[in-house]
Symmetry: C3
Subunit: 346 residues, 3 copies
């Protein structure tokens, strides 16, 4: 927590405006429940309006044109984005400690850029290179010839296999493994023979990859995580997959080998896609769903196999109404039998 800010200054920083007192001093950000008079709280979900009325917060960050009488408000056109910016202002990241720990291992020909930081027990394999202001955390391992750009953070215990490339301004969390061998075997007479995996993993700029996720390399060519894509924890990206820029993959999602994912595609939690597919730009795969066929751009799919989201919803409703449908068929049978009997009786 560095400095104090006037509410009005915060508003201009984020392209917002103040309703109330622009001189209000803000020293921190907190939830509606926990905020005190020097805190900015935020109301981004209307279901918390009651809490907003009761909060002790000094001011509240709200969507444009929100009314909360008697409150100092910071109205922002994109309040969640504004919140991110204000958090960065009020809580600047801790100081870096440039330098290579004497307890790190630096292989032959490995290079570290200006103001890079390498933690204890980290390993830079022969010929590995990290850029300026890049951090390699304690115990992280960069294999031979791995390359990392500028201003990237490799958290403790991440592993980059030899030849892996990571761009600039990336965040690779603890336990991530980049470049392990893809799951490729030639099966003959029931035995599985390893197919050499000689490809490479390429993580483009501005990517974040969550704890313990894995991106594999393939037999040949590159597995690519596109620029600006954000990946959560325990996600699997298989060999030869290409994920377009600005994608989102929530926790425990997985994409099988060689599938191409377009720009801005979202995989929700625990979803998946089979291999060798093409998933169009802007598509969304709902949580727990599995894509087994190509998807055109801007698809929104759910289910196993994943189908159009509305089709899936309707199918779910029909399944719920199956007892009723069955009952109607039974009634029809009874009526028809009665009618038939009547007919016969005529």
């Amino acid at each position: 927590m560095a400095d104090d800010f006037r509410l009005g200054d915060l508003a201009s920083r984020v392209g917002g405006r103040v309703a109330g007192d622009p001189e209000r001093i803000i020293r921190g950000v907190a939830t509606l429940e926990e905020a005190g008079p020097a805190d900015l709280a935020f109301l981004t979900n209307p279901k918390y309006r009651k809490a907003a009325e009761a909060t002790r917060a000094g001011a509240i960050l709200v969507p444009w044109e929100t009314r909360l009488p008697g409150r100092d408000l910071l109205e922002a056109p994109e309040p969640y984005l504004a919140l991110a910016e204000i958090l960065d202002l009020l809580y600047p990241p801790g100081e870096r400690r440039p330098g290579v720990s004497p307890l790190a291992f630096v292989g032959e020909g490995a290079e570290t850029g200006e103001d890079a930081e390498v933690g204890p027990f980290a390993v830079l394999g022969a010929g590995a290179r990290i850029g300026r202001r890049t951090t390699v955390g304690a115990g992280a391992v960069l294999g031979e010839g791995a390359e990392v750009g500028d201003d990237t953070v490799i958290h403790p215990r991440a592993v980059l296999y030899p030849g892996t490339r990571v761009g600039s301004r990336c965040i690779i969390h603890a336990g991530v493994v980049l470049g392990a061998d893809g799951f490729g075997f030639a099966t003959s007479s029931g035995k599985h023979r390893k197919v050499p995996q000689l490809g490479r993993v390429v993580v483009e700029d501005d990517v974040e990859i969550g704890a313990n996720s894995a991106v594999d390399r393939g037999m040949l060519g590159e597995t690519v995580v596109g620029r600006g894509t954000k990946i959560d924890d325990l996600v699997m990206v298989a060999h030869g997959v290409r994920i377009g820029p600005d994608g989102l993959m929530a926790a425990q999602a997985g994409i099988a080998g060689s599938t191409r994912v377009g720009r801005g595609v979202t995989f929700a939690g625990q979803s998946g896609a089979a291999g060798h597919l093409s998933i169009g730009d802007g598509s969304v795969v709902a949580a727990k769903s599995a894509v087994f066929a190509d998807l055109p751009a801007r698809s929104f799919v759910a289910g196993i196999p994943a189908v159009n989201h509305l089709t899936w919803k309707r199918a779910q409703a029909l399944i719920r109404s199956l007892p009723e449908l069955r009952a109607r068929v039974l009634r029809l049978e009874a009526r028809l039998t009665a009618l038939d009997g009547k007919g016969k009786g005529d």
Copy 2:
């Protein structure tokens, strides 16, 4: 394997009673198939009764009032609990080796309690603190200011991000990551801007977390794993989740951001819950299921989306009987057409 025990002594240790010879000497525990005359075997599942009749075991641990003529039995009201206690008696844990390895890195101001043990290449960041008799395994990394209570075991290569708190008598398995950034982004014009994750992960006392699981910190506040909760391998607990005491999460389960889980809730294997939900005390989520809505206390749900377990079972049965339902509709159509024709023919 330390000492010998009389069967009668074991019985009194676990609140059980002997049917047969209380002087029988027991030196080990083994399965019905592998036990020898100095071993205690156990019959906790009636489907193994045949094996119990054929076993070479010296004695058998059984549920209260089980009859197995000609056998020395240890009857226990809670036999599985008794088994746990007897295993601890007969196989006490290996000796600890208190002390900080000269190959560990201990940051400025880090503190280790009496009889703590820190392995080679472990890292205690600046200001980190571990309690008495706590073990930090080889290569584990505790970030700055992380705090761990007494009698806890942090297995090799676990990572606690700065500021993480772990209670006493916890077991954190290899590869666990506590406190990585939650998956929070403000998306504007298709670009995902990181929302700083300034919160903290708090693991209360008596918690166990399995290999390679991840618990993330959120934007603000705490992500909490409640006292006595047990988490299996490869589980994901997202930012801002609060899990009540005495919960169970089986392997590869996941809970999305900000969901509140009550006391004594069970998530079976590969199950999940969406974010911002409230899951009532004592609820059970079946394997492979996904909770997409709030659950009242003592819910037992299954399916995607998860519904009452019996409703789900009934739906499954109806889906299986769909071919028959369809055939009945076709028959009805044929009968009606015939009848209609007859009518017309009159």
Copy 3:
């Protein structure tokens, strides 16, 4: 990339034959799109035939009796297997660097076989043993008494708990955890009491385990991954599971405690099996499916719960046709009402 090869020599190495010029010099392998005149490309999936006609590759590896006029072809009876063999020939693995890094920790009584390689910050616990030409990567941890055979690669940061056994010619990828405690608790009055997990994990020869996967030990006895089985990333094998030889488990699959899996069983991605089951030889569990009951040999199942694959497909089709079935029932009702009215009107 070592030597040049004549196409004819490659053909005889892999039991294939040349259609075209056997003197063609091959220096590398590449995809149809990227290959140049000194490269062998491959056509193993007929849907890429167009690309094969347009490729700049010097020669193409194809299935037996494939015709591609004007091309130098290497026909192989098992082309994917041939590809694996040719990749090994053309791209021999990098040189090993036998020796124990002075930055490794070698516990009392630990033994390393001839030409073993142990990386920096690796840990060999007291009494651990690794065989000849085995590699232990940077930061990997072998617990006390762990044993590894010959020609195995333990990648960086893998962890073998004490007593774990890994065979020869295995590949254990980064972040794998072998031998963590199984998820065993005796619950009494809502509290979960740990059941000691004293068993051991045994990984037989020729096994590969992908990044960040976990195999747990059980209360007693062994958890076994059978010879020749290949496991992908982020897979969970629970306590006491036995997987037969030559199995395949794709990414994020999981098997719960004590289940026995036969020979040559395939678990596709994100699939699972409940505990205490028996899964017959040669069975296949489709992606995203969950096995909740024993399976006879050569089962091919899908769905949650998993049922015969064709039954599942039929059920999916029927669910998709539910709107139509419902409409037919409504029409029947209307017709019957009309008919009934007519009858009454008579």
